[in-house]
């Protein structure tokens, strides 16, 4: 993946003075950079725990996993720059996986007793289906993987995955501090030719988060009334599906608050709309959507989806008008 970094490095032209809206700098300094520093701390702690206890049912290990996953979900919509370079976000979080690549790839490694678990460099060459939070979830929570009798290799695999996650998180954080913050705060370079392009990037991140919520985190388990799909819920094995929605909404609320700061009226409407959605998420007492077939549960989730959809249709475009940017293209475009 080395060459993927090249265009970014070549475009490193450091400006002299920051001239953009104050909100952009605040988003970097108060949300993004401390967020990735926190993620680095949590994934490092997870790898440390795994290095001395790799029993999947260990409370200490599962707690460390949950804390680190929380930190990632808060940041999962920042899919540009340091997370895209060297495909780091893909390696941390490959989801959804409609073709079952994760269990298939993990099984292939286990069956072959693949030696890449002994070397961080070699492990980082593996398929993204065998790396990151969602692969680890299978090893810690999936019945079929828990039933594997030869624990020795699975233990090495858990240690290799957690160590890899700590490395990737550290790389993202360092890349923000050493390279990317400079590009965004001095927008006169090939990546960000002007302030608007920086604002557009941050605005797009909000859109990506909202789209992930409605089209993936909510729409996948909801399916249709006749055919709900609880097995498609995100992180259902660890019963974190609804938790992720609430964490994401809270993080997006903070991002929207920064972006809308110049307009008090819009800022208030945004806060109210997010508060309503967060309240509805807290009312869903079905953490993995396993009861989505029950109409009483379904109606609560549909109300939540409508509340998020209203943020997309009523708040998001107004915010674009305020900032004078369009949503542009994102990685979710397409099929």
């Amino acid at each position: 993946m080395r060459h993927f970094l090249t265009p970014f490095l070549m475009s490193l032209t450091v400006g002299t003075a920051y001239a953009g809206p104050v909100e952009n700098a605040a988003i970097l300094d108060e949300i993004i950079r401390p967020g990735f520093a926190q993620l680095t701390n949590q994934t490092t702690a997870l790898a440390t725990v795994a290095s001395h206890t790799c029993a999947p049912q260990s409370k200490e290990l599962r707690d460390a996993y949950g804390t680190a996953f929380d930190a990632w979900i808060e940041l999962s919509h920042f899919r540009f720059g340091p997370t895209e370079a060297e495909n780091r976000a893909f390696a941390l979080s490959f989801w959804p996986d409609p073709r079952n690549a994760i269990p298939r790839t993990l099984n292939a490694l286990i069956t072959a007793q693949d030696p890449s678990v002994q070397s961080p460099d070699e492990f980082s060459e593996n398929s993204i289906a065998a790396r990151g939070f969602y692969a680890l979830e299978f090893l810690l929570y999936d019945d079929a993987f828990l039933a594997i009798e030869d624990r020795g290799y699975v233990c090495s695999l858990i240690q290799a995955i957690t160590a890899d996650m700590a490395v990737i998180s550290g790389e993202i954080s360092q890349d923000w501090d050493n390279r990317y913050a400079v590009l965004m705060l001095n927008p006169s370079n090939a990546t960000y030719p002007d302030e608007d392009s920086v604002t557009r990037e941050l605005y797009k991140a909000l859109g990506v988060g909202l789209e992930l919520l409605t089209e993936a985190r909510l729409a996948r388990p909801l399916g249709t009334f006749e055919r709900p799909r609880p097995a498609r819920a995100e992180a259902r094995r660890s019963e974190r599906s609804v938790r992720h929605i609430e964490i994401s909404l809270t993080a997006l609320r903070a991002l929207a608050a920064q972006l809308s700061a110049p307009d008090a009226e819009l800022s208030q409407r945004s806060a109210d709309a997010f508060d309503r959605a967060i309240d509805l998420a807290q009312r869903v007492d079905d953490p993995d959507f396993s009861e989505i077939r029950d109409p009483a549960q379904r109606i609560k989730v549909e109300a939540l989806q409508q509340a998020v959809q209203r943020i997309r249709t009523e708040i998001y475009p107004d915010l674009g008008a305020l900032l004078d940017v369009s949503a542009g293209f994102n990685a979710l475009d397409g099929d």
Partner: protein, 419 residues
């Protein structure tokens, strides 16, 4: 590549002319290119049907190879039309019938045991309808005794609401002509034998008559679907009328198609994801090993739209008023930058195509640790990502940001293209 360079230079020269570019002319030329692209897709599909009829009537290595070659020839013009998908709702709503991917091919025919059975996502993933004249779906009994175009389109396609149940279109036909590619990361495509279509005791794979019936029905359906799309781009067709009905929305549709295909679809879903998964099944034309051409002609379609030029299957050319001229009137440097980036992408996709044509299979490029293959694929990905940022700026340069708030297209409503 010479041809594209010449086209780009010629258009660059015309940019210098003093007269302003008429937006209606740009839109009409775009519609003309779309119409010609679908016409070429149709004529090559008709040739495919003739070859399929010959295969089913007298199965042999020769008739099978002729049918495969006809399929490959039909892909080149069709892939160049993919750029019309994302901006034009009428195309996007229809596209799933002809080019849906990826597919759980076990729905259609026999598969290797390594394929697995029904999954969490898809209960019908291993149905094998060719061997199954009747089956249960959500408690109801489904009669599959006659495999007709209607049955494929209305019952089997996306059965159970699962998108991977692809029963129609190019990739279903591709599977019936090649079969599964079981070579893993080694070179080589699917190796279906011609005797899969043989009569009586010579039949391999079982149910050869139903397999022939399926292949014929799917090819007939492809033709009727393409005929419909050709007519939509005719003088009074709905696609053309919608496009011309609102200049701003029409220009946005053009740029939306370019950007969405470049970034989320081609660079992301089709190229980078396969590489990151190291999965030889994650290639767009996986049965035929034609993925390098699929990527190349997709990229060429994006360039065609910007330069307002399309070279038809018969070698003739359609050219006219173009985006490259229109954007140049607002920002000459940006227009040249975007044209240059499209050229860089085509050069990278050309290198990928040349390597694959030279024997370095796309399957091999996807293998873990294959640095040379990764570099070839990422060359295309990086070019596509880079051109997308310039396309976004072209949207702004043409003053198209405002239409975001009319909610009329997928640039501003990503959910419209997500579905």
């Amino acid at each position: 590549m010479t041809r594209f360079l010449m086209a780009a230079s010629a258009l660059a020269l015309s940019t210098a002319a003093a007269h302003a570019t008429d937006k209606t002319d740009v839109l009409n030329n775009y519609a003309d290119i779309a119409q010609a692209g679908y016409e070429d897709s149709l004529t090559t599909a008709v040739a495919l049907r003739e070859a399929v009829q010959a295969l089913v009537a007298s199965p042999s290595d020769e008739t099978l190879e002729a049918a495969r070659n006809a399929w490959l020839a039909a892909r080149a013009p069709y892939q160049q039309t993919e750029v019309f998908r994302f901006g034009n709702a009428i195309v996007d709503d229809w596209e799933g019938k002809v080019n849906a991917w990826p597919l759980d091919e076990g729905l259609i025919d026999y598969v290797d045991q390594s394929y697995g059975g029904p999954s969490d996502e898809n209960e019908l993933a291993a149905l094998n309808v060719i061997a199954t004249p009747s089956f249960e779906l959500s408690g109801a009994s489904i009669d599959a005794s006659a495999i007709t175009p209607e049955f494929l389109a209305e019952t089997l396609h996306e059965a159970d609401g699962v998108e991977a149940n692809v029963a129609t279109g190019y990739h279903a036909i591709e599977f019936l002509l090649w079969g599964q590619d079981l070579n893993g990361h080694d070179a080589g495509a699917g190796e279906r034998a011609a005797t899969d279509y043989a009569a009586g005791d010579d039949c391999t794979g079982g149910n050869c008559d139903r397999r022939g019936e399926y292949l014929t029905a799917a090819t007939d359906l492809l033709i009727s679907d393409l005929e419909w799309m050709v007519s939509q781009w005719g003088d009074h067709g709905e696609a053309r009328m919608t496009l011309l009905g609102d200049e701003t929305a029409g220009l946005t549709a053009m740029l939306t198609g370019m950007g969405s295909l470049s970034y989320g679809e081609q660079a992301g879903e089709r190229m980078r994801l396969g590489l990151l998964l190291n999965d030889p099944e994650e290639e767009h034309d996986c049965f035929s090993d034609n993925t390098h051409n699929s990527h190349y002609y997709d990229g060429l379609g994006v360039q065609n739209v910007y330069l307002g030029s399309y070279t038809r299957v018969d070698g003739s050319t359609i050219t006219g008023a173009s985006l490259v001229d229109l954007v140049a009137e607002s920002d000459a440097a940006l227009s040249a930058e975007l044209a240059g980036k499209l050229e860089v992408t085509m050069s990278a996709l050309g290198a990928l195509k040349a390597a694959a044509d030279g024997g370095f299979a796309y399957d091999q490029m996807l293998e873990r640790g294959n640095a040379e293959g990764e570099a070839l694929i990422m060359g295309g990905v990086n070019g596509l990502i880079d051109q997308t940022s310039s396309i976004e700026r072209a949207v702004a340069a043409l003053g198209l940001n405002g239409i975001a708030f009319e909610g009329s297209d997928s640039l501003d409503a990503p959910e419209a293209v997500f579905q």
